[in-house]
Symmetry: C2
């Protein structure tokens, strides 16, 4: 396999000599028709408003081959050690699709292991929903609270919010989430919950996450305060690795397992997302979500960049980052259900590709992952879009939209429904950014030339959500390969943890640091 | 008054020749002690971990004088036309403090007008709280829902979330917010609310905001569906300008007024925030919030940059943006209550300073406002901090912290409370970013040199929140003066609105645009 830095490729050199595309002029009907790729669950990726043309796409296609992008993805699927820093396989795809050939580890078939855990969750959830398992004071469980942070929180929470309204009255339980070590986070949630009918899910792969253990202890304390008869061990399950201190503990009703081959930010389709989403919505909804993700995974195997949405998105993103020097990207879903999807993508993308060394630990001479932010439209239009339209930096945009709303509660006002207004706004923005508009008053002038892509589907269903999740996971993976970095470790979070422990144990001798700590009451 | 571009100043030329400060080496006890400024409500701004030293501060102090920053702020307070593009005064400060001399417009004393509106709100809220005014089916109002978008939503919503837990059981009403034209937004809120005891606040300065009127109509429809006896006009008040189509309408229980001199993103301390926050928390809480803001406003009048927190923050931010070429800034509150404060700052900063022309409409040869994003710590640590620590771009950080939690529901685990753990994390991050840490394994190496500042106080009270809000408003204002731009208009949002209306009215002849619209069901 060919592991080389981006700037060692011939294609990169060729890209540097290309003339940038003026999307102001080149956003044509033909391009809108032609520059579109279908991925999972009938989601389409339209890239007509991105700054590429036939020539640049040809070079990007060559780059895909030079960097062996599809071959490396196949290595992931085949169970190769694609997280070299931690000497681990990278197997989140296997939580939702069969591998190309069986992946065996320590005599276990890993795909079977993931499927088995989900089946155990389905059976357990069935018992909770039927009332066969009740709370320790005899109440039927109607609420589930996930305690976890980072990947054990952002993805599952974003997915829950995205599916809550479409599942609607068919939902089996209400879900809530506690993540922050700030005690106010837990206090707000507990204050509004009947703990007698609440089931907690403690999620920590290592079983040692400081925030999560602290919040578990707060939960137990709170239960005792509300009702001394409550037995916390009858109100809690764990999602953890089989070797963690939390596994098989008497403190839990049951435990469900993940392994070291699923990174936190890639764990929404594993038991980390599976437990809470199955408890809240039932197994069929979760299955549909997994199937949508698997469809996008399959699309990402296509060698032809014009038939592979995640690959195309990754390649053009790399072109914009490294050749056009755009440093930030905004994700703008025109769907209220996706309100926390950008927060999940922030982790997915920035934690995966915010790296300065290649997979061999050598410094890189080019930029890697951009900063990501976003809010739902049309809200963002009334907030930060001013800078996107007229600011001094160009920020590429990733729009997401759906023909239909989730709830179909709508009204025709002045000849159009709210859903139509929403999508008219989305369409208008793509063109306003690309085309701009000349005005004699320079303050009302729009230079245009601001690129965007559009991922769209019929409706934000569980399948569509899974397809979108997988699209971005695979985009980030391909970009990691392009940059020749390891997208699957996160050593950058370690130093802070180490210093925190030094402060808490009173070991820090640094006067400046101790002075700041003192100001904060430590 | 001296209106010149930043790059026309002597100080800017001097700044370009300075040697950058290596904060890795220069974050000392002495600096932590010395580089600190007290602003409103005893909030302190510590800038020891920002890349400045005595020499650079001296030049920045000169820059403040060259650009007449304090004089321009005084012009704002005195009622000069400081929003030249729209030919308007800029008077949000007067919602919470007395002007230097009375500001009279069309024979009205504007300060008196703002005070009078808040007094009318206080009286009205008193009648709602006492039950003197009840819903149309005789139920006491216990819920308030604000319908507004952009500045009528983000600020008031962020403030409500920040104060909800500290007010706690003393709160008078529960508040909720609807903003997005996506009909799913309204449907989720209405589905969980008893509309018989709900009071709506319709907020639109112009009275013509598309999203807000559409959501009003949805609210009225929903009321009729729930109970035909509900009279919407007895469940709704308006906050609008006295000349808008919504003013004095029979469709409302009452109307409260703002004027053209308060921009949406600066309106949290006007009736836009005043109505919902007073209804939710009572007039005393809102008064404390205003007083905190007024204290920071007063601090911002100080000529000495070492005694003026907002001014110092603005100047160093400009140095990092224009000399060090940092394009993004992250706001990281270590307080769950401030979870939506970054979303408010996104609007405040990016809509104010995302401009490419100066106040005379001339193109600028330097960068203006950066992109802003953020999430509460410690959550962010488990998400995007990887890129902040080890990514290829340096992103300056703005930390916010408090000695005490809001709710004081805490537990000592392993020798420390959760609040102590929270602040140990915050302290550790400041030093991890600044100092870095050498490691033989390049993957575990931290280059350091990553700047941050810290705003901190004892507790997130209404006063502290007001002081922080005003700090950022004034920082953004000073930066606008530095860049010689108009921070108080937002022409960049107009083109999208225009194109949206063309699509909705079927006037668009653009084939590419109509093709995209068709894909989205229009």
């Amino acid at each position: 396999m060919n592991y080389q830095n981006l700037d060692q490729t011939q294609s990169y050199k060729k890209l540097k000599t290309t003339t940038p595309v003026d999307i102001k002029m080149e956003l044509t009907e033909e391009k809108v028709n032609k520059y579109e790729i279908k991925t999972g669950a009938n989601i389409k990726f339209n890239y007509a408003a991105l700054p590429v043309n036939t020539k640049i796409l040809e070079i990007l296609s060559g780059l895909s081959k030079e960097q062996d992008l599809i071959e490396k993805y196949k290595l992931i699927l085949s169970g190769a050690t694609m997280n070299p820093g931690e000497d681990r396989k990278v197997l989140h795809h296997l939580t939702r699709m069969d591998p190309l050939s069986p992946v065996i580890f320590e005599n276990h078939n890993i795909r079977d292991f993931y499927v088995e855990q989900q089946e155990r969750i389905n059976i357990f959830a069935g018992k909770i929903h039927s009332g066969q398992i009740k709370g320790s004071t005899g109440k039927k469980f109607d609420t589930v609270i996930q305690i976890g942070i980072g990947g054990s929180d952002l993805g599952p929470r974003a997915m829950y919010i995205a599916l809550k309204e479409i599942v609607g009255e068919k939902a089996m339980m209400v879900a809530n989430f506690i993540s922050n070590v700030d005690p106010d986070d837990a206090a707000s949630v507990f204050g509004n919950t009947n703990l007698e009918s609440t089931l907690f899910i403690l999620v920590s792969k290592s079983g040692t996450t400081q925030e999560t253990l602290a919040n578990r202890d707060l939960a137990i304390k709170w239960m005792g305060k509300k009702n001394p008869d409550l037995d916390p061990s009858k109100h809690m399950i764990a999602v953890t690795s089989a070797t963690s201190p939390l596994a098989d503990s008497d403190s839990f009703l049951d435990s469900f397992y993940i392994d070291d081959f699923i990174g936190g930010r890639y764990s929404s389709t594993s038991a980390v997302g599976g437990a809470v989403l199955t408890l809240a919505f039932g197994k069929d909804v979760f299955k549909e979500f997994l199937d949508g993700a698997a469809e996008s995974d399959k699309n990402a195997l296509n060698e032809d960049i014009k038939e592979n949405a995640a690959l195309m998105d990754a390649l053009i993103g790399c072109y914009m980052r490294n050749i056009l020097d755009y440093r930030i990207s905004a994700v703008l879903p025109y769907s209220q259900g996706m309100s926390r999807f950008p927060a999940h993508l922030q982790q997915l993308d920035m934690e995966s590709n915010g790296k300065s060394v290649n997979r061999n630990g050598e410094s890189l001479g080019y930029k890697t992952g951009p900063a990501i932010f976003g809010e739902p439209g049309t809200n963002g239009q009334h907030s930060f879009y001013q800078l996107l339209h007229q600011g001094t930096d160009i920020i590429p945009l990733q729009f997401i939209g759906f023909k239909e709303s989730q709830q179909n509660v709508d009204l025709t006002i002045d000849g159009s429904t709210n859903q139509t207004k929403l999508n008219a706004n989305l369409t208008a923005q793509i063109f306003a950014f690309a085309r701009g508009s000349q005005n004699a008053n320079p303050n009302k002038n729009f230079s245009g030339g601001r690129p965007s892509s559009l991922l769209y589907g019929t409706k934000l269903t569980p399948g569509a959500l899974g397809a979108l999740l997988s699209h971005f996971e695979n985009k980030v993976m391909f970009q990691g390969f392009l940059w020749n970095i390891n997208s699957f470790d996160q050593e950058g979070v370690q130093l802070g943890k180490k210093l925190t422990n030094q402060i808490l144990s009173g070991e820090s001798k640094d006067k400046a640091l101790n002075l700041i700590a003192g100001k904060l009451g430590i």
